[in-house]
């Protein structure tokens, strides 16, 4: 047991470090792309200018100065600050600083977007939106995983039946992304039947009681989660059922059957267990697409999360928010990979016992 834990710990640590380096490179790339046209420099200079202007105009010593003089003062001070912050240095040098700022999400103030609590700090705005995105996508991913898993297991037992063939026939529908089904769900349930909300997270005005709020949020969750499920569940069931069928035709399963083990035990010990690693890998790819899909899904459903924040930032051209959101999406992807890697390692005996295997 001790060695297992030690191996697992070492594996986790190494993966964590590797992933962090990957995120670092990813953020650096993001910063580099964002600044190819000078967008980040512009944003920073504007912020410095804004701060300097405020300082100059609020300073009682300068109250009597004429307008042109004040303006010159602002220009001069801005120049000095720009030099102080190293904005005139070559990009390679600046980009290191930018990356450090982006990694810690200390991206200063947004240009126009404000958080609900009235803050203009990019970090506050991002962190305020994070929980609703986690709620929406977390619920969808959990539901998708367990529903698809049980359904796939169920179908692998009823191989060739009508329902099995129906799911195979439906698998190609996963070619369309979640937002696409979302539009149809809105059309049917909000526009025509008028039984579901058009979008948003709670009714407005918000309910007085906590219970009322929870019920309202759950009601608003139904359509977007439904859309995510429609966009991914059939191909997942199809793929995972195929994995189950492959592993259930292995010799050791036949042997277990011959030994007279109960089919429930066979399923759990000999089929489910070895199938988990490929299923986790396939789920990982789905989840990665899902995080990215959140941008459009939240926009379509007007869900107040990171995705719709990103959309709003694009609409208003708010560079600090744009960069910040890309970074936080990078974190979310890395966290997903990390979590699933950990599960993978915990399930895969090669990693648990000897350390050295792992995914890929």
């Amino acid at each position: 047991m001790g060695t297992i834990l030690k191996n697992l710990g070492r594996f986790t640590l190494l993966r964590g470090v590797a992933l962090f380096v990957t995120v670092l490179i990813g953020v650096y790339l993001t910063v580099a792309i964002a600044n190819m046209g000078g967008a980040m420099d512009e944003a920073l200079k504007m912020q410095i200018r804004l701060e300097v202007t405020q300082l100059v105009y609020q300073n009682p010593d300068y109250f009597n100065l004429p307008q042109t003089e004040l303006q010159r003062l602002v220009d001069d001070l801005t120049q000095t600050r720009v030099r102080q912050e190293g904005l005139d240095k070559p990009f390679l040098e600046r980009s290191v600083g930018y990356t450090r700022n982006a990694i810690t999400l200390s991206l200063g103030r947004s240009e126009s977007i404000m958080s609900d609590s009235g803050s203009r700090l990019v970090r506050n705005i991002l962190l305020e939106r994070l929980p609703s995105t986690l709620l929406l996508l977390g619920t969808s991913q959990m539901l998708l995983f367990f529903l698809a898993l049980f359904w796939a297991l169920f179908l692998s037992r009823r191989y060739g039946s009508f329902i099995d063939r129906a799911v195979i026939a439906l698998a190609p529908t996963s070619a369309a992304p979640a937002w696409f089904y979302g539009l149809f769900l809105i059309l049917i349930f909000a526009a025509i039947l008028k039984v579901m909300p058009w979008g948003g997270m709670v009714v407005s005005p918000p309910p007085q009681t906590t219970l009322g709020t929870i019920v309202s949020i759950l009601r608003h969750l139904i359509l977007p989660v439904g859309a995510v499920l429609m966009g991914a569940i059939f191909s997942s069931i199809y793929n995972w059922r195929t994995f189950f069928l492959m592993y259930s035709s292995e010799d050791y399963v036949e042997l277990a059957k011959a030994k007279g083990l109960r089919s429930r035990d066979i399923e759990r010990r000999y089929i489910l267990r070895p199938t988990m690693p490929p299923i986790l890998t396939s789920f990982l790819l789905i989840v990665i697409t899902m995080w990215m899909g959140a941008i459009v899904l939240e926009t379509v459903f007007n869900w107040p999360g990171l995705g719709s924040l990103y959309y709003a930032a694009i609409q208003t051209g708010d560079t600090p928010i744009i960069v910040g959101t890309v970074v936080i999406f990078g974190y979310l992807l890395a966290a997903t990979v990390f979590l699933l890697d950990f599960l993978y390692a915990a399930l895969d005996p090669r990693v648990r016992l000897s350390f050295g295997g792992g995914r890929s």
């Binding site: 990957t22 990813g26 792309i33 526009a191 995080w291 744009i322």
Partner: protein, 445 residues
């Protein structure tokens, strides 16, 4: 050839292939019938392009499913009218233009507008408008209204004075059977109507174009949007754009991954290690977010986007799938034989190793196409569609932006969506069948 014959055994493959075939034919016909520049011009619209189309009107075939006969747009030109001129002295003449027409529909028009064009010395003319109804009533629409001589228009349906007088929007009131019932319960009066336009103008002044447009509630095969554009242009042009974008992106992304996987696996060691790390890095890069950022900061042109999509997908997750395949193929005896006769590394990779794994590539390639077709739509729905071209995604975006769903104009969103879905399904069906043909292990399952 053998593959084709085998594919015929799968109904889903036949269906998928036929769908793709139909869309390819439609694309070719579209490109010939509405050339690229013409498509851009039509979609940009502007004055004179879509003036005589109803705004936000459903497709004409909607009418087939409704018991009522829905109004079509009626355009009447000066040739359809009778014009009389009469000298009244002082170098002035009295001009009278009469439009006679029958209104046979069960619904009210959407709008009612008169367009004018002519050489007027003063640049303007004062005209009076009278309306004869089938029941004999005569309504004074406007008196001495100043009309411009160059692209002059009189939007009767927006005339607030007339609206007040009738107690209903003019395009409803003028055609109403009974003005005393509530607007919602009004019914149109069918029969012969007459619009008389009269005015006094200096001799020599002339309107050479006068058009009366009674806008209908159904228009064109695809309906129209908020800019009166016929959606059929967008629906048709969406096909070649969607196909080209999807196929080119899939070729660029999958084939490059495939080749790199071959090279990485063959050389192994450091090359393979670096390629695998790059694949992992690529997996964690927030692909769509970066793509949106680039489209926003630099250029939303569809061809630039295509390039970036390919660049960001060179080391896609398929690398690992292909690698697993190549690792097996690498050990096969015929590769060893090639080495023995002294073939170079690249020769082995390109002529022996890569072809071996084509059966894996082909289904993956076909199955990934819908992803890219939808990717274009995804960007468009975020408002980052190509600024010039008409695509299905942009139509969906317009429909969302201009609240087509709130206002019940479902066709606007549903038609492009159905086309998107159909193309997506076509490729997905074909891909799934190819997978079964090429990977026999799946066939039994």
């Amino acid at each position: 050839m053998r593959t084709l014959r085998e594919l015929r055994r799968y109904p889903s493959a036949v269906l998928g292939l036929s769908i793709i075939g139909v869309f390819i034919i439609v694309s070719i016909v579209t490109i010939i019938a509405i050339p690229y520049d013409e498509g851009i011009r039509l979609w940009r619209g502007g004055p004179g392009v879509w003036d005589y189309n109803a705004r936000r009107a459903a497709p004409v075939w909607f009418d087939w499913f409704t018991p009522d006969r829905l109004p079509r747009t009626m355009v009447m030109y000066l040739d359809d009218a009778t014009m009389t001129k009469e000298l009244i002295g002082d170098g002035m003449e009295r001009v009278e233009i009469i439009f006679d027409f029958e209104y046979p529909y069960d619904g009210f028009p959407k709008e009612f507008t008169l367009f004018f064009d002519g050489n007027l010395t003063a640049g303007r003319a004062d005209l009076s408008f009278y309306w004869w109804r089938p029941d004999g009533q005569v309504i004074t629409v406007a008196q001495n209204r100043s009309i411009r001589g160059i692209s002059g228009r009189y939007p009767i349906s927006q005339d607030t004075d007339l609206r007040e007088m009738l107690g209903a929007p003019p395009h409803v009131g003028l055609f109403a059977e009974d003005l005393d019932v509530k607007t919602a319960e009004m019914k149109p009066l069918k029969g012969d109507y007459r619009m008389m336009i009269e005015g006094e103008m200096p001799v020599g002044d002339e309107f050479h174009q006068v058009e009366m447009v009674v806008y209908g509630r159904v228009e064109g095969w695809g309906g129209t949007d908020h800019l009166r554009r016929d959606l059929i242009v967008g629906l048709l042009w969406g096909a070649p754009i969607g196909l080209i974008f999807g196929v080119l992106a899939a070729v660029g992304a999958q084939v490059s991954t495939f080749v790199l996987a071959g090279i990485g696996t063959w050389f192994g060691g450091k090359v393979d290690f670096i390629f695998r790390r790059l694949t992992e890095l690529n997996m964690i890069l927030p692909f769509l977010a970066i793509l949106i950022m680039v489209a926003h900061l630099y250029s939303p042109s569809i061809w630039v986007i295509l390039g970036i999509v390919i660049a960001l997908n060179v080391f896609s997750a398929s690398y690992l799938t292909y690698r697993a395949m190549f690792l097996q193929a690498k050990e096969l005896p015929y590769i060893e034989a090639a080495q023995a006769y002294g073939a170079g590394s690249f020769r082995i990779v390109f002529t022996y190793l890569l072809p071996r794994a084509l059966p894996i590539l082909l289904p993956q390639f076909v199955m990934i196409i819908p992803t890219f077709v939808f990717l274009e739509a995804t960007l468009a729905v975020l408002g980052l569609g190509d600024p010039q071209l008409a695509t299905w995604g942009k139509m969906i975006n317009d429909a969302r932006q201009y609240s087509a769903m709130y206002m019940g104009q479902y066709y606007w969103m549903v038609l492009p969506s159905i086309l998107l879905m159909t193309v997506g399904l076509g490729f997905a069906l074909l891909g799934f069948s190819l997978d079964r043909v090429f990977n026999p292990r799946l066939r039994e399952l």
